[in-house]
């Protein structure tokens, strides 16, 4: 009896914590469906009348679409570069015989420890010199650079499970190292690629610090930067529109998360625990 009571208590506690964890996010979506009068009088109840007015306002001026496009562009280009570069670096470091491989690997791993803030000033100066501030390129470069250490680590981990005999067999059959990589090894790395892609698509989409530093021009702004402007842009905070904009902005990561859940969490926890 007592044990059962304790068990129910535990479950109750879990549910209370669960509410603390996700209620704010759910509330955000609910609040975005209320009109501004209701929002200011009864902000935390369920909406009496569901309205899409806020979404219409936000999407109507077309600004947010541009922001989304910028974010999408940066995320996509970065992802492709991260996958290609880390897959090849990992291959070089784990399947080639080269005496400094270990050192180069440690050099990459050192990057996991580096706080991104330290790069902001030098990159800002460098970008303004070569004139790529306010372009997607300015965002892609650090995103890829900082994603490489962890992605390389994941690929090296994966390649250690690819038997050397497989590669030898390919070479004996007359394949060049490039063909071995493209036709034998890379297709095997599908899971590693999905893990890296799902995790970094979320992290890059969500980035704030690089965008805030390197981008000020509204035509190049990313969605997270755009959100920051919402409060100001509507004069005295239009919370309804702000919530709608936030909901739109966080929807893609949430969709990716719920559809690729296993990969996202495994990637992020691996990333965190290796840092």
């Amino acid at each position: 009896m007592k044990e059962k009571a304790i068990k129910y208590l535990f479950i109750l506690l879990l549910i209370v914590f669960l509410i603390i964890q996700i209620y704010p996010v759910i509330w955000l979506f609910i609040a975005s469906l209320k009109d501004s009068v209701e929002l200011s009088t009864t902000p935390f109840s369920l909406p009496k009348a569901v309205t899409f007015e806020n979404y219409k306002n936000v999407l109507g001026d077309g600004v947010i679409g541009g922001y989304m496009w910028n974010s999408l562009k940066i995320t996509m280009i970065s992802l492709v570069l991260i996958l290609v570069l880390s897959a090849t670096i990992g291959f070089a470091l784990s399947k080639f015989h080269y005496k400094h491989s270990k050192k180069i690997y440690s050099f990459f791993m050192f990057g996991i420890m580096v706080p991104v803030q330290i790069t902001l000033i030098p990159l800002f100066i460098f970008y303004s010199k070569i004139g790529i501030l306010n372009t997607s390129m300015a965002m892609v470069l650090p995103q890829v650079g900082f994603a490489l250490p962890l992605s390389v680590m994941m690929f090296v981990n994966f390649y250690s499970f690819v038997p050397d005999e497989l590669i030898e067999a390919g070479i004996v059959d007359g394949c060049s190292p490039y063909r071995v990589f493209l036709q034998i090894v890379a297709p095997l790395a599908r899971n590693t690629m999905i893990t890296i892609a799902s995790m970094y698509s979320i992290l890059i989409w969500n980035d704030f610090i690089f965008a805030n530093t390197f981008i000020s021009d509204s035509s190049a702004k990313t969605i997270t930067m755009g959100l920051k402007d919402y409060v100001g842009a509507f004069g005295n905070v239009d919370w309804g529109a702000t919530y709608a904009a936030i909901s739109i902005a966080i929807l893609p990561p949430i969709l990716i998360y719920f559809s690729l859940n296993k990969w996202v969490t495994s990637g992020m926890t691996a990333g965190a625990t290796k840092g």
């Binding site: 704010p24 570069l81 030098p122």
Partner: protein, 316 residues
Amino acid sequence: MGVLRDKKAFFVFLMPGLLFYLLSVFYPITESLRLSFIKWNGITPQQFVGLDNYKRLFQDPVFYKALINNLIYLVIVVIIQLSIGLLFAVLLTYLKKRANLVKTLYYVPCIVTTVAIAQLFRSIYSTQPEGLLNQMLSAVGLGGLTTSWLTNLNTVLGAVSIPEGWRFIGMYMVIFYAALVSLDESVYEAAKIDGATELQILFKIKIPMIKDILLLTFTMCLTGALRGFDIPYLLTNGGPGNASELMSTYMYKQAFTNNQYGYGSALAVFIIIESVLIIFILRKIFENYDVKAQKKAAKQALALSKRKNNKEGRVA
């Protein structure tokens, strides 16, 4: 290591990525170091000033304020993330059926962008219109505690720390949970048979057994908190005054608002030194502790298995 010996192919595979990495991670670090010895506002020629930036750093009252704030911020974030994360994880191990669903949902705040979280908490803390926090306080009869959380000098630092702590509870929970469920059940089953209570099992067996993970999460948490930037920057930008100033927000302000690139770089270098130092100290503490703990755990496990064997012997 490695079977392929084609040097040219090796470099073809390695170089593009290495160049990217050198340019976007390694070059900025060396450049930060160089800039920290230079006085420069971005327009006039750069002027080598030796250690002046660092001297100024140690005479700057705002620097000390930011350092102390950062330590408080760190303590709050670490306590929230590790204690609640561990508690969640322990509770979750008693949930047999829906553990995965709960885990998935707990994790959601980790994937929401910091900008959204900052806006969310801004509205929770707001006074005009009355935000969630003040409404709840009034509702439970603590109306006297309501305040303007982000402008009150006494509450602002706590108010910017909590969102950061809250955000990653789910991640630490997932890590702890994975560690807890991977433990060998037979060890504490034996203790249970011997009449150990659940709490004893938890504190005497389970938690000591995941010590490695604790070190890891501790390191993560501390370095994460030392880098804390997004949410404090977005919520208050260090204000009011410097009441919630952190190292990184101060660095950012010096560099990009005051255009003091040299001084900002000195602050950035300080952040790196600080992080490395903390990781180093933590490793040392745990190494000492670990040796002792391992001996103790080995002893306990031995005692347990002996007792278990005895029991099984008796049953047979």
